[in-house]
Point group: none
Chain length 211, copies 4
DNA sequence: TATGAATGAGACTTCATTCAT
DNA sequence: AATGAATGAAGTCTCATTCAT
């Protein structure tokens, strides 16, 4: 056991050994296309251009590979620049954020991680939970912090900023995300996304703008 | 088996022959708990109290059984009385609907159908699509129709009622559904659900109440 | 031990180059603990503190490594000084031998070689055969030779000394070895081993002491 | 095949449903030839003339199949009529038993169970232990009981009957079993077995016959 | 010489599905 | 109709071995 750990450590230290990169890229595609159960290690190996055995050199098992991908997803999410500079005005900030957020969700393959994780959350609750906290909840918190900074006379009148942040994010998805993720509609057009986020921003400000 | 003949002539056709009922009930539980891939026909047979072979007497294969359950789910959803009587006033109607809606989603096992269907939407797009249309979109449309009936001076000022309906539904889930479905939080308390839907209603009216 | 001296010679062909020694020591432990099939080359490499590739520098394959260990085992066995000096009296010689023999078999890990070789004797008959001849049969023969030297009036009356030697060895194991090797009992106590070998010696002499 | 018709009975539960019998027979052969690790489920399926999947209908896993065979082995062992009728005289009883015992051990494939179980006793201690208790220890106890019944003036003078029983069994194997099990010699001849057991009996009585 | 990354065959096991009764 | 025995394809994972450095 200890040995295995060490062996993995050695490999893991080189975060971007090219084989590891290949595997993660191939696996992401397969996992997101087919879901955790639908993806087979053979398919992943083929997609990654390595042998099946090699997968297990880099990742202890299928779950570990899956979680490594979610880890990356979380990091990428964190690197998306949601500009929550408190100096910026609320309307612009919210609108920019909403636009970026919905485009992230509805990019081709964009809902896949959410969908895929959601799918196994019942059988692997800790995976679901961690993904939520690291990705979704974190974004809520950053927006919430921004809002808090603007609560005050002449700015925003919000009682529960966490709820408000969540509300704005939900509003930004309205009529777009569900049809997309259920494959009932193609990815929304640029124009439609703009409209929806504009509407969300208006609605949010109508409710929370201090008088 | 002469005596039995008379009975079994039509039983198979009948939607609710007792065996079929048993199977659907057992299968729903297993599918919702474990997901499409995680559920095995053996487990389903056990949960239904029938033999594995019998499953194939009533359903062509695993997918057909799964879709039959979604069919039922859609019917049940349709039977939930969302009281959209145009005669009722907007605030009460929206609030009542929001309360019922979030309780439906967050009931134990409530997110399961959504989660389960979402999970296979990429591999079985028509299943995902049909579920969306028959369940989610249908609800949106009914709410939208209600809203349309109230658009007018002194009532609601809404440009895009479909979007507005979707917005209200999304608002009703804010901060509640995602943590629940990702297993990052237990089902929300009654009080919290009430608060969130109250806030959603206020927000909606702040934005759309005609002046 | 003379090992320290040897290390100053850098003769790579030498049987006991330090790496080779490491490998043999690590491999013995793993093979004896887990059996031929249960032992993996990876585990052996770890136990030996070398890389997997290095194993194949010194040994052609897993079997060759295993046989090299049995070779050593045979040599060590041969070096255990069973004092069969013909000048010693029979009772003492037998008893001393029996005591040493049963302690050898029942030492922690003692039955392991026998067990391990036995296990693969059917698939690798020559390995089993050679081990028997070089280890077990050799001991029988040395005891047999000792007995032959004492056959005569006033000493021992034995017709078939090979059989007699084998009999004494079997008697020395009675009630001790099988429970131990089948893990049905912990290693026998010192006192019990003494009693059993004493009994074996008495029995042997009762049967073979010349009158 | 005419017989085949009769075999299509629903008798999975029965201990000797024909498929179960087939599997056990095929598996015994493969396990005994190749050892637990060396035997593959595919090979066993082929030897049994069933599909791999069928093996798992009857046995939970490879270990369970293996243990079922040991179970049978134990039963068969128990059914070997070792005639320990206390009314029989000691010499005949011992000799008959010894003859039967060594023939059991050295029959073709006879040492295989012992060898095979011994081989995995380290990794599966409970299997080893149970086999020892159910097969070997049980036989010792039955012989021991017989001996106890004959301890007395003019019959046997034995202090530790359990030890004595074990001693006789070990003596009966002397020079025969080890070469056989290590594949260093073919199964012993009838004549040789007779000689060895005769010698064992003489030796035993020389030591334990009451004076 | 020594390494360890990489491989691919093959192990055990599961499971949707079929078939005879 | 209902069963349950049987199947075989496919899944995850292990491991002896090779090869470039």
């Amino acid at each position: 056991m200890v040995v295995a750990d060490r062996e993995h450590l050695h490999v893991l230290q080189e975060e971007d050994s090219s084989k590891r990169r290949q595997i993660l890229d191939g696996a992401r595609k397969v996992f997101m296309d087919l879901g955790f159960d639908g993806a087979s290690m053979g398919e992943i190996a083929r997609a990654a251009g390595v042998s099946k055995g090699t997968l297990y050199v880099y990742f202890a098992d299928k779950s570990a590979l899956f979680e490594a991908i979610l880890e990356e997803e979380a990091l990428q999410y964190g690197q998306v620049v949601f500009n929550f500079d408190p100096a910026r005005d609320v309307e612009t900030t919210l609108n920019d954020f909403g636009q970026a957020y919905i485009r992230l969700l509805c990019r081709p393959g964009g809902g896949s991680a959410i969908r895929t994780v959601m799918a196994i959350a019942e059988r692997m609750p800790d995976v679901g939970c961690r993904y939520y906290l690291r990705v979704l909840d974190k974004t809520i918190n950053r927006l919430s912090d921004y809002l808090k900074a603007h609560v005050g006379p002449g700015d925003l009148a919000i009682d529960d900023c966490d709820l408000a942040a969540s509300q704005f994010m939900e509003l930004s998805k309205a009529s777009l995300f569900l049809p997309f993720v259920f494959q009932a509609a193609p990815p929304p057009s640029e124009q439609r996304m703009t409209e929806v986020v504009d509407s969300a921003t208006r609605m949010f400000l109508a409710a929370y703008k201090a008088k």
